[in-house]
C-alpha cells in the first residue's frame, strides 16, 4: 500500500455561504430546464422544470459548501477545517454552513417563522374570500391555488417546527452531548428547507397547483407545471425528515452522557426520538410515491391512471401510509414538550415516567396501522373498514396516557403559572377537542357524512394548530431565554396566550358546525345559509393572526431591544440544558457531564443535582 508522504495542500474552496448558494442555484435552474427540454418526452415543460428545481437545489447546496468535504476526502486533498464554533460568533455565522447545532437551531427558527408568516397570510386570504359565499372576492382558480399553497407550506412548517429549532438546539444539551452525531446531515436537513419553500412559492408563477396537500392523481397529473413545485418541494422535505431523523436517532442513542440512562432521558428527547423513528420510516414512502408521480407526469408511465392499467388507489395508499404517520411526526414532539414543561412548573416529578414513554411509543407504533381511515368512503374493500376503525380508535388509548401523565403531574402540585404553563394548559384543552372529534371521524357510519367536510378540517386544525402550535408557543416561551439569551416579556406573553386561545377556539370551533351543516373542504362557493358562521370565523381568524403578530413583536422586542440578558436558569429547572451558562458555550459543556439523577426529581428529599458538570459555573437546579 502506498502511503502518501503528505496530504495534498489542494482544497476545494467553494465559499460556504448562502450568497454563493443563490449564485450557483440560478445557473443550475437554467441548466436543468435546458437538459429537460432537450431530452423531455413531452412537449410540455414538466421534465425541464423538475430537473431545473433539482439542479438548482443541488447547485445551491454546493454553493453553500456541502460538496467541499466529500470531494476533498475523495481526492485525498486537505480537508477544509470544520467550521469552528469557537471562532466567528458574529451574525454572519447564521448565513453560512455551520455545523454547530445551536446555530442550526436558530437558523431553523427564523426560517420557519418567516415561512409561517406566508402560510398564515395564505390562511387569511382563504378566510377573506370566504366572507362571501359566491367566490366573487377570489376567483375559483386562485382560490384552489391558495388552498394548495397554504396547506403545503403549513405541512412543510409543521414537519420541522419543533424538531428543527428546538430539537436541534436542545437535544445535545439535554443529553449532555457536546455535538450532534452527524452534524453535516443535520446541516443538510436545514439547508434543504429554504429551497423547498422557494420552490413551493415558485408554483404561483405557473398559476398554482389545484390539488391541496394530498396531491391526488389523476388531478395532479392533469395540473400545470406548478405541480412540479409540489413534487420537488415535498421531496426535499422528505430528505429533511430522513436526514434529521438519522442524526437525531444516532445522537440520542450514541452520544448520551455517562449516567444519562434511558430512564433519565427528558420527555422532550423521548418525543424527538419517537418522531424521528416515524420520520425515518414514513418519509421514504412519500419519496417513492412522488417519484412515481414524476414518472407519470414526465415519461407517460401510468402508475396512477386506471385507464392505462394503473390505479389512483396506489397513490392514496402510499400517500396516506406516509401522511398519517406524518401527522404524528407533528404531534409527538408536542407531547414531549408538554410532559417536559409541566413537571418543571408543577414542581413535581413526572407522574408515571415509564407509562408516558410507553404512551409515546404506543402512538408511534399504532400510527402505521391506521392510514386507511382516510379512505373509508373511497371504495376500499369493505371488509377492511372494521380493522382500520378499530386501530384508529385504539390510538386514543396511548393518547389518553399522555393526558393521564400530565394530569397526574398536576395533581396536588404547586403550579407556578408562567406563560409556558398557560400554553400547556391551552394545549390540553385544544388537543382534547381535537382528539375527541377524531373519534367521530374514525367511526365509519359518521365518517360518511363528516369525511371531506369542514368537520375534518376543524379536527386537524385543532390537533395541529391547537396542539402542535400551542406546544410550540410553550416551548418558545420556555426555552428561548436559553436560545436567544433574552426573556420574552411575560406580560405580552399572557396577553398573547389569552388572545390566541380565545381567537383560536372562536375560529375553529364553529367550523365543526359548518362541517356538520354540509360545507365541504376546499370550496370557494358555499351554501349562502352558512354565510353568518363563515363571517364569524373569518373575523376570528383575523384576530388569531393578530395574536401571532403580537408573538412576533414580542420575539423581536425581546431579542433586539431588551438589554438585560436572561438568567442562566430563570425557571429554576432541574434538567440538564438549564445547568449550562447563557449564552451556551461553543462546546456546550467544558467536559462531558456525569449525570447522577433524573431531570424531574422535585420534592424528593436529598435529591442530588442532575449532573456533575465538572466545575462549570451555572445555576444550580433543584429549587
Amino acid at each position: 500500500m502506498v502511503v502518501p508522504e503528505r496530504v495534498s495542500e489542494r482544497r476545494l474552496s467553494i465559499p460556504n455561504n448562502a450568497i454563493t448558494g443563490i449564485l450557483f442555484a440560478i445557473p443550475g435552474y437554467f441548466a436543468g430546464v435546458w437538459l429537460g427540454t432537450l431530452f423531455g418526452l413531452n412537449d410540455d415543460q414538466n421534465t425541464g422544470v423538475i430537473l431545473g428545481y433539482i439542479f438548482a437545489t443541488v447547485a445551491f447546496l454546493a454553493g453553500v459548501g456541502f460538496l467541499n468535504y466529500p470531494f476533498e476526502r475523495l481526492f485525498g486533498w486537505r480537508v477544509s477545517p470544520l467550521t469552528d464554533p469557537d471562532e466567528n460568533r458574529g451574525v454572519g455565522r447564521f448565513f453560512r454552513l455551520s455545523l454547530d447545532h445551536k446555530v442550526i437551531g436558530l437558523q431553523y427558527l427564523v426560517t420557519i417563522l418567516i415561512m409561517l408568516l406566508f402560510g398564515g397570510i395564505g390562511a387569511m386570504m382563504i378566510r377573506t374570500s370566504l366572507l362571501v359565499p359566491d367566490s366573487s372576492i377570489t376567483p375559483s382558480g386562485n382560490y384552489i391555488s391558495l388552498i394548495g399553497l397554504h396547506s403545503v407550506m403549513m405541512i412543510f412548517i409543521t414537519s420541522a417546527v419543533i424538531v428543527g429549532p428546538f430539537g436541534n438546539y436542545l437535544v445535545p444539551l439535554m443529553i449532555g452531548a457536546r455535538r450532534m452525531a452527524f452534524p453535516r446531515l443535520e446541516a443538510l436537513s436545514f439547508w434543504v428547507v429554504p429551497p423547498a419553500a422557494v420552490i413551493l412559492a415558485a408554483a404561483t408563477f405557473w398559476g398554482g397547483f389545484p390539488t391541496g396537500w394530498t396531491g391526488y392523481p389523476p388531478l395532479s397529473e392533469q395540473a400545470s407545471q406548478a405541480m412540479d413545485s409540489y413534487i420537488v418541494g415535498f421531496a426535499l422535505i422528505a430528505v429533511a425528515l430522513v436526514t434529521s431523523a438519522i442524526n437525531m436517532l444516532a445522537t440520542i442513542i450514541g452520544l448520551r452522557a455517562p449516567g444519562m440512562t434511558w430512564t433519565r432521558l427528558p420527555m422532550f428527547v423521548w418525543g424527538i426520538f419517537t418522531t424521528s423513528i416515524l420520520g425515518l420510516l414514513a418519509a421514504p414512502v412519500l419519496a417513492a410515491a412522488l417519484f412515481m408521480l414524476t414518472l407519470d407526469r414526465t415519461t407517460q408511465t401510468s402508475f396512477f391512471l386506471a385507464s392505462n392499467g394503473g390505479s389512483n388507489y396506489l397513490w392514496e395508499n402510499l400517500f396516506w401510509f406516509f401522511g398519517h404517520p406524518e401527522v404524528y411526526i407533528f404531534i409527538l414532539p408536542a407531547f414531549g414538550i408538554i410532559m417536559e414543561i409541566v413537571p418543571h412548573f408543577a414542581r413535581k416529578p413526572l407522574w408515571g415516567y415509564r407509562t408516558g414513554v410507553v404512551g409515546l411509543f404506543g402512538v408511534m407504533l399504532l400510527s402505521f396501522f391506521v392510514w386507511q381511515h382516510h379512505l373509508f368512503v373511497s371504495g376500499i374493500a369493505p371488509v377492511l373498514r372494521p380493522f382500520y376503525m378499530l386501530s384508529t380508535e385504539l390510538i386514543s388509548i396511548p393518547t389518553g396516557i399522555i393526558f393521564l401523565v400530565t394530569l397526574g403531574t398536576l395533581w396536588r402540585a404547586r403550579v407556578w403559572f408562567t406563560v409556558p404553563m398557560l400554553f400547556c394548559m391551552g394545549f390540553l384543552f385544544n388537543f382534547l377537542i381535537g382528539g375527541v372529534s377524531g373519534v367521530y371521524l374514525s367511526d365509519v357510519p359518521t365518517d360518511v357524512t363528516l369525511h371531506g367536510s369542514y368537520f375534518s378540517m376543524a379536527h386537524f386544525h385543532y390537533t395541529i394548530m391547537g396542539g402542535e402550535i400551542f406546544a410550540l408557543m410553550a416551548a418558545a416561551y420556555y426555552w428561548l431565554p436559553k436560545m436567544t439569551g433574552k426573556m420574552l416579556s411575560p406580560t405580552i406573553g399572557r396577553i398573547h396566550f389569552w388572545w390566541m386561545f380565545i381567537a383560536f377556539n372562536s375560529t375553529f370551533f364553529p367550523l365543526f358546525i359548518v362541517g356538520l351543516l354540509n360545507m365541504p373542504r376546499r370550496v370557494s362557493s358555499y351554501d349562502p345559509a352558512l354565510v353568518g358562521l363563515n363571517r364569524w370565523v373569518t373575523i376570528s381568524a383575523y384576530f388569531l393572526f393578530g395574536s401571532m403578530v403580537l408573538f412576533a413583536a414580542n420575539l423581536i422586542y425581546s431579542w433586539f431591544f431588551v438589554a438585560r440578558p436572561a438568567l442562566a436558569n430563570p425557571w429554576h429547572a432541574r434538567s440538564l440544558e438549564w445547568q449550562v451558562p447563557t449564552p451556551v458555550p461553543a462546546r456546550n459543556f467544558e467536559r462531558v457531564p456525569l449525570v447522577v439523577a433524573g431531570p424531574y426529581d422535585y420534592g424528593i428529599p436529598n435529591a442530588r443535582p442532575v449532573a456533575d458538570l465538572g466545575g462549570v459555573v451555572g445555576a444550580t437546579g433543584g429549587g
Binding site: 413531452n42 410540455d44 384552489i144 389545484p210 391541496g212 391526488y216 392523481p217 389523476p218 388531478l219 392533469q222 391512471l305 385507464s307 414542581r347 413535581k348 416529578p349 407522574w351 408515571g352 368512503v377 373511497s378 371504495g379 376500499i380 374493500a381 369493505p382 372494521p386 376503525m389 378499530l390 380508535e393 385504539l394 386514543s396 388509548i397 396516557i401 397526574g408 398536576l410 395533581w411 396536588r412 404547586r414 403550579v415 390540553l428 384543552f429 382534547l432 373519534v439 367511526d443 365509519v444 357510519p445 359518521t446 360518511v448 357524512t449 356538520l516 354540509n518 365541504p520 376546499r522 370550496v523 362557493s525 358555499y526 351554501d527 426529581d601 422535585y602 420534592g603 428529599p605 429549587g623
Partner: protein
C-alpha cells in the same frame, strides 16, 4: 379493593371533583341529547348516522368534561400560593390508577369499535360490510348489478362524475341518463358511483351518502329514502377549477308514482341521444385517455 387506597390528602379533592363531574356530565349529556344531529332523517342511512353522532356525543361528553375540570381544578386549587418556589409532593406514579385509566379507555374504545362494527354489519348502512364496495376491471366479479334491469328489489342508479358535473343513469330503465337525481321514497337504492376522468366524491348530504367516484371503479353505496323532499348533491373531493361549484340542489325524493311519471319523461327526452351514449356498464373509459388533443 385494597389496591385503591386513597390517601387522606386526596380525599377532599376527589370528592369535589366527583360531584362536579357527575353534575356537569348529566347536564352535558342532557344538553347533547337536545341537539338534532345532521344528516337528520331523510333516509334510513342518514337517520342511522345522526343516531350514531348522538351516541358519540353522549359518550364524549363525560370524557371531555372530566378532563377539562381536572385541568381547571388543577389551575385553581393546585396553584402555588407562596411567593417563593416550593416543590410539590414527590409522587412518582400510581400503578393501579394507571391500569384503571388504561382499562377504562380500552373499554370505551372497544365498545365504540364493536358498536361500529355491529352497525356496519347491518344492511341499512351506506357501505355495509360484506357488500361489494367496488369492482376493478371487467372480471372483478363484484359489480353488484352491472347489467340493465337487475331483478333485485334495489333500484340500480349509477352516478357518473366528470369534471365538473354529476349525471345519473338508471339501469332498470334502459340506462337512461339524467341531469338530476330523483329517487322514489321507501325503496332501497343501490348507487354505483364512478368517474369519467379524475377522483370526485358524490355527497348527497341529506341522504347520508358520500362515495368517492374513481375512474375505472364501480363504488357501491346503499340508500333508502324515507321522506320526500329535495336534497343537495355536492362534490366532496377536490377536483380542480370548478370543484366549489360542482353542486346541484335539485335532487328530489318523490313518491313512486311521481317517479314513474318523471322517469317516463326522461326516457322520452333521452331518445334523441340514446344511440350515441354507450350502453350501461359498471364504468367507462372514454377517449381521449392520455395527453392528446
Amino acid at each position: 379493593m385494597g389496591v385503591f387506597r386513597i390517601e387522606e390528602a386526596d380525599r377532599p379533592h376527589l370528592l369535589r371533583l366527583l360531584i362536579i363531574w357527575v353534575v356537569l356530565s348529566i347536564v352535558g349529556i342532557l344538553a347533547a341529547l337536545q341537539i338534532h344531529y345532521p344528516p337528520y332523517d331523510q333516509s334510513v342511512q342518514g337517520l342511522d348516522q345522526s343516531r350514531t353522532l348522538a351516541l358519540l356525543t353522549v359518550l364524549a361528553t363525560p370524557v371531555f368534561i372530566g378532563v377539562v375540570i381536572m385541568v381547571l381544578y388543577s389551575a385553581i386549587y393546585f396553584r402555588r400560593t407562596t411567593t417563593e418556589l416550593v416543590d410539590g409532593p414527590p409522587m412518582l406514579g400510581n400503578t393501579p390508577v394507571q391500569i384503571a385509566w388504561i382499562a377504562i379507555s380500552a373499554v370505551l374504545v372497544l365498545f365504540l369499535a364493536v358498536f361500529g362494527i355491529v352497525t356496519l354489519a347491518s344492511s341499512n348502512v351506506a357501505q355495509a360490510v360484506g357488500t361489494p364496495g367496488r369492482s376493478i376491471g371487467q372480471s372483478g366479479g363484484q359489480t353488484g348489478s352491472g347489467t340493465i334491469g337487475g331483478t333485485g328489489p334495489e333500484l340500480q342508479v349509477q352516478v357518473v362524475a366528470q369534471q365538473w358535473y354529476f349525471t345519473y343513469r338508471y339501469a332498470d330503465y334502459g340506462g337512461v341518463e339524467t341531469t338530476h337525481l330523483y329517487l322514489p321514497v321507501d325503496r332501497p337504492v343501490e348507487l354505483h358511483v364512478t368517474s369519467l376522468d379524475i377522483i370526485h366524491s358524490f355527497w348527497a348530504y341529506q341522504l347520508g351518502v358520500k362515495a368517492d367516484a374513481n375512474p375505472g371503479v364501480d363504488n357501491i353505496f346503499h340508500v333508502t329514502a324515507q321522506k320526500t323532499g329535495s336534497f343537495q348533491v355536492r362534490c366532496a373531493e377536490l377536483c380542480g377549477l370548478w370543484h366549489g361549484h360542482m353542486a346541484d340542489s335539485e335532487g328530489q325524493v318523490v313518491s313512486q308514482s311521481e317517479f314513474d311519471t318523471w322517469i317516463a319523461q326522461q326516457q322520452k327526452d333521452y331518445e334523441v341521444i340514446s344511440k350515441a351514449v354507450p350502453s350501461y356498464a359498471p364504468f367507462y373509459f372514454p377517449e381521449p385517455l392520455l395527453k392528446a388533443g
